[in-house]
Symmetry: C2
Subunit: 185 residues, 2 copies
DNA sequence: ATGCGCCTTGGACAACTGCCCAAGGCGCAT
DNA sequence: ATGCGCCTTGGGCAGTTGTCCAAGGCGCAT
């Protein structure tokens, strides 16, 4: 199906996007350079522009791929707060995934292509969460999902500044999803 | 008290920090250059390193000053959600203030000096909000304040991607501060 | 008018940037 | 062994970067 050379090419592509995710987190989106990328991926500098049309295209593809992957692993649990905070525990605000999320949010502000891609990703996941909330009888599931997602992203950012115990926060977050249902019923 | 020359010097300093805030928002923290800054401030390039020891020092001072100023204007209202969302209405996620906040959060990840300054600023304001919450009988005021601040910052970021009506979100946010008090009483 | 401080200018420096390209390597069919 | 495609290399290009610095300007006391 594929020649050994083509397989090697695909491997280089993968190594470059992996290096991009690392470096976006470490240095920041606009501080990542082609030569940095090549060195981290263990390839020659010229390869970056052979496999990708531009540096921006590489960063965009890498970041969106990483975000899509991170979000794909989240499934509805019986306890929604625990289910959503579980992944959050792994994301300290200083890990690559958290930082790539925030860096990409900011990049979206300055690049329409990134903005539309991220916007779609967030909207899709938010819709999924809204569905889970609706199943549980939470009122205003759409708005609640929007607030819940924003809170999680905000907590990731704030935790990088000032690590806080997730356990203390859990009962407060529960108000978001229970306040509308339990309290009113 | 001050000579005309010294006054001129102070004016240049102010123009440079103002330009820094604009450019951090427009281009991103690490994409701001000395010459960009000088041009925007209307001064010669060499002046940047006369008035500031380094580019990083200028960006840090400018960003922290802008954040301190933005936070200083927030006072407790009778309705806390309205009081905190009022300023949020002005911050669309694409205005200089919102972007400087997020950019500086990320810069704090890579610069210990920025991190400690921002951490103190956030902690101080969070403590103030926790006090307001405690006055209103909200349970777990500290944790609630932490979640509330994170939610507001998260909403700023998400609104830049996908503008959403603030009015729809307000009742959901109210659960955060009322769930603990009203529901239980 | 001489000297002192502070502010300002514009250019120099080496290092780095994104992007491009001639030259070569490799696997494979002919 | 010859040719074809894809992948790879390293260097070149023009432009930008942070930082520094000699030279000059200005207000003011002497």
């Amino acid at each position: 199906m594929t020649s050994p050379m083509a397989a090697r090419g695909r491997d280089v592509r993968r190594r470059l996007t992996a290096a991009a995710v690392e470096l976006i987190a470490e240095k920041g989106w606009s501080a990542v350079s082609t030569r940095m990328l090549a060195e981290r991926a263990g390839v020659a500098p010229g390869l970056v522009h052979y496999h990708f049309p531009s540096l921006r295209a590489l960063l965009t593809e890498a970041a969106i791929g990483a975000m899509r992957e991170a979000v794909a692993g989240i499934e509805p649990a019986s306890d929604l707060v625990d289910g959503l905070l579980g992944p959050l525990d792994a994301y300290t605000g200083r890990d690559p995934v958290s930082l790539v999320f925030v860096e990409t949010y900011l990049a979206a502000t300055r690049d329409e292509q990134v903005r539309s891609a991220i916007s779609a990703l967030v909207a899709e996941f938010q819709g999924k969460v809204a569905g889970w909330l609706a199943d549980r009888g939470v009122v205003a599931p759409e708005a609640t999902a929007a607030v819940l997602m924003a809170t999680i992203d905000g907590l990731m950012v704030h935790r990088a500044l000032n690590p806080m115990a997730r356990t203390d926060l859990r009962p407060v977050l529960r108000r978001l999803v229970e306040g509308g249902a339990v309290c009113g019923s």
